[in-house]
């Protein structure tokens, strides 16, 4: 269950497709990527997630061979890539800056790598057409990049990197400039391509929702260090650190001290007569300072005092944000602490059962509390 295991790379069938071994990248004194070790299996859809400047692009560029690791090494398909130049790697990359060739039409951009491989012209044309279809740019094939919108350029860059059907595809924020609908369609297409071709994907994204939807595993990076690796579910439900809990989705974090360990861990919050009870976990001792993370959707809100759940407290509704499919409540506890709660809007009535300034009860299961040591 604990996601930390997979950091060391437990793979089912022997050698991983991509192995990153203790890779460090320094630019002068600055450490952009700090001792990263990571295994990626064949046909995985791996997402790299992290704040701006945390070293995601640098890691991809090292995989593509555009940047040399200062320390450590990278193996692809068991082969040491240290001295293999970019043009000999079985890898294609989509650049964050797109890097489209300004003197070539969209078609020629997409065909660039195919022509380099001396693919027969008929096949090139067919592949280019497929790619244009895929990114929905059918009628734009003859245009030059400067005649396209930002999102269209991004799609050309995506098509160009996909065209050669590489064994390993590195996508640096492939869908960032697309609108929601087109993004969802393209995500769907990417998953289809992967099913059909068995390409291994490594995708950098800022968008955690996208990472959740697309990927088989997610790595969360912070300042050059990988904080956690796991399936979307693991990383979301069982974050290993405050950073990861906070980075993925929204979360309520409570700092407190472990009061007792019996059937569950009891955590006392200072300056509030509030006790949280979480499920047992390892490496926790009485008196230790810990944080408890609770997702807003795991908390239920009610006017009447609930009776069955262990964790409950009272507060006053400070704000309600209507978000279509759900409502997000900001509830102020007695000590002034704000708790975020989200609940689905099941009935379509204008009349709200819970309103501003209502006094409400919040309750949640012990299972909803994640105890964080880091």
């Amino acid at each position: 269950m604990n996601a930390v295991e997979s950091v060391t790379g437990s793979s089912s069938d022997g050698s991983p497709y991509v192995r990153i071994e203790n890779v460090t990248k320094r630019f002068g004194e600055f450490v952009a990527v700090d001792n990263v070790s990571l295994d990626i299996e064949r046909k995985e859809f791996f997402a790299l997630l992290g704040a701006s400047g945390c070293g995601k692009s640098t890691l991809l560029r090292m995989l593509a061979g555009l940047e040399k690791p200062t320390e450590g090494r990278i193996l692809i398909d068991g082969q040491d890539m240290t001295n293999v130049p970019p043009y000999e790697r079985p890898v294609n990359m989509m650049f964050q800056s797109y890097a489209l060739f300004p003197h070539m039409s969209v078609e020629d951009n997409i065909a660039f790598g195919l022509k380099q491989d001396r693919m027969p012209v008929a096949e090139i044309n067919k592949r280019v057409e497929e790619m244009l279809e895929l990114v929905q740019l059918g009628q734009f094939g003859k245009r030059k990049p400067h005649q396209l919108s930002g999102g269209q350029r991004q799609r050309v860059a995506l098509a160009r990197s996909l065209a050669k059907h590489p064994k390993l595809l590195l996508l640096d924020e492939p869908l960032a400039a697309l609108d929601k609908k087109l993004r969802e369609q393209t995500q769907f297409e990417l998953m289809n391509i992967q099913d059909e071709t068995g390409i291994t994907f490594i995708v950098v994204t800022h968008d955690q929702e996208e990472a959740m939807v697309l990927s088989t595993r997610i790595a969360v990076m912070n300042q050059g260090v990988i904080q956690q690796i796991g399936s979307p579910n693991e990383v979301y439900e069982y974050p290993s650190s405050r950073y990861v809990a906070d980075f993925l989705g929204s979360v309520n974090l409570f700092e407190g001290e472990v009061a007792s360990i019996n059937q569950g861990i009891e955590i006392r919050l200072p300056q509030a007569d509030l006790h949280l009870v979480a499920n047992n976990r390892d490496n926790v001792t009485i008196g230790q300072n810990v944080a408890v993370a609770i997702r807003p959707e795991k908390i239920s809100v009610s006017i009447d005092k609930p009776n069955e759940l262990t964790n409950q407290c009272q507060g006053k509704v400070d704000e309600i944000a209507y978000q279509g499919s759900l409502s997000v409540y900001q509830v102020k506890l007695a000590d002034g602490r704000m708790v975020k709660v989200s609940s689905p809007n099941q009935v379509r009535t204008a009349k709200r059962t819970i309103d501003w300034d209502d006094s409400v009860w919040l309750s949640w299961d012990t299972d909803a509390c994640v105890v964080l040591i880091d």
């Binding site: 970019p86 043009y87 990359m93 890097a99 003197h103 380099q116 160009r160």
Partner: protein, 300 residues
């Protein structure tokens, strides 16, 4: 109060200034030379006949002729001089391109601190008079000059080579003098190029030289055209270099022009030579501008 129909504002002045400049310093001299080219030479002061005669009407009568232009076509000295000038200009442009491109490329790829120093070296010769620099080549190339002495001293040759006063020395002088005009626009173009384009070419399977021919070279065509025009156009009319470094058989239109003006004192023929040369140069300029416009359309 009457309102002024036309007011001279700062804006109209700013717009008018370049036109006034062109009118005074380009169009007026051009008109004078054009007029001269229709006149006949006289042994008088000034040494040419009048082209317009006042006959009392509203407009003066045109009494000039196209004889001078006809003369240019009949004497093959002029045609040969034109053709030879163009040949020399073309060969020099190609030589400048072959030497200048690698230099511009090297400077554009050099690390930041080096780049300015190298550019400085390209510009440095401009701080010495052009004439003195061309004279210096005489000292290097003449029979008992530096180059021959070094070669003799090393025992590579037994007697001095004839390096001066032939086409070889003219090419040396031209390529030496005009190389910066090739390097600078090429450098400006190559330095602007986005490194990530080469990275993505490499990523898509190009070896470095393939990335050069498929990406760098096509993207530097505007720089190549600009540099070539900056070399080709002035070299066609070049006078100083063939005069100082060339031999008796070095026939260039600039030299012919000089001879007509100052030795034969035939101003009308000299003017027609100048006008013909201008027309000859206008064509490449128009081509150049055409390409420039196309370039600015495709790379806004």
């Amino acid at each position: 109060m009457k309102s002024m129909p036309f007011r001279i504002t700062g804006r109209t002045l700013a717009v008018a200034a370049p036109y006034v400049w062109l009118l005074i310093f380009f169009l007026a001299p051009f008109a004078i030379v054009l007029k001269l080219s229709f006149a006949e030479p006289l042994i008088a002061q000034p040494p040419y006949s009048a082209v317009f005669e006042w006959a009392g009407g509203l407009l003066p009568n045109f009494t000039g002729s196209l004889d001078n232009y006809q003369f240019l076509l009949t004497d093959d000295l002029y045609i040969n001089a034109y053709l030879n000038s163009i040949k020399i200009a073309m060969v020099s442009t190609i030589l400048c391109l072959l030497i200048g491109y690698p230099m511009a490329y090297g400077i554009a790829r050099a690390p930041g601190a080096w780049r300015n120093a190298l550019l400085m070296l390209v510009i440095l010769p401009f701080w010495t008079s052009f004439l003195i620099r061309v004279y210096a080549w005489i000292g290097i190339l003449k029979n008992n000059g530096i180059l021959n002495n070094v070669l003799l001293g090393l025992g590579i040759i037994d007697e001095p080579l004839q390096l001066l006063h032939n086409n070889f020395s003219v090419y040396i002088g031209i390529v030496y003098s005009y190389l910066p005009f090739m390097i600078l626009p090429l450098y400006a173009n190559l330095a602007r190029m986005d490194d990530s384009l080469l990275e993505s070419a490499a990523d898509l399977g190009c070896r470095p030289w393939q990335a050069f021919t498929r990406v760098t070279l096509p993207l530097s065509i505007p720089g190549i055209i600009a540099g070539s025009m900056l070399v080709f156009i002035p070299v066609v009319g070049e006078f100083v270099i063939p005069e100082l470094l060339g031999g008796p058989d070095t026939l260039m239109i600039g030299k012919v022009l000089w001879n007509e003006f100052f030795q034969n004192r035939d101003w009308p023929v000299a003017s027609s030579v100048a006008i013909a040369m201008l027309v000859l140069l206008v064509i490449p300029i128009v081509i150049f501008q055409h390409f420039q416009n196309k370039d600015s359309e495709s790379n806004p």
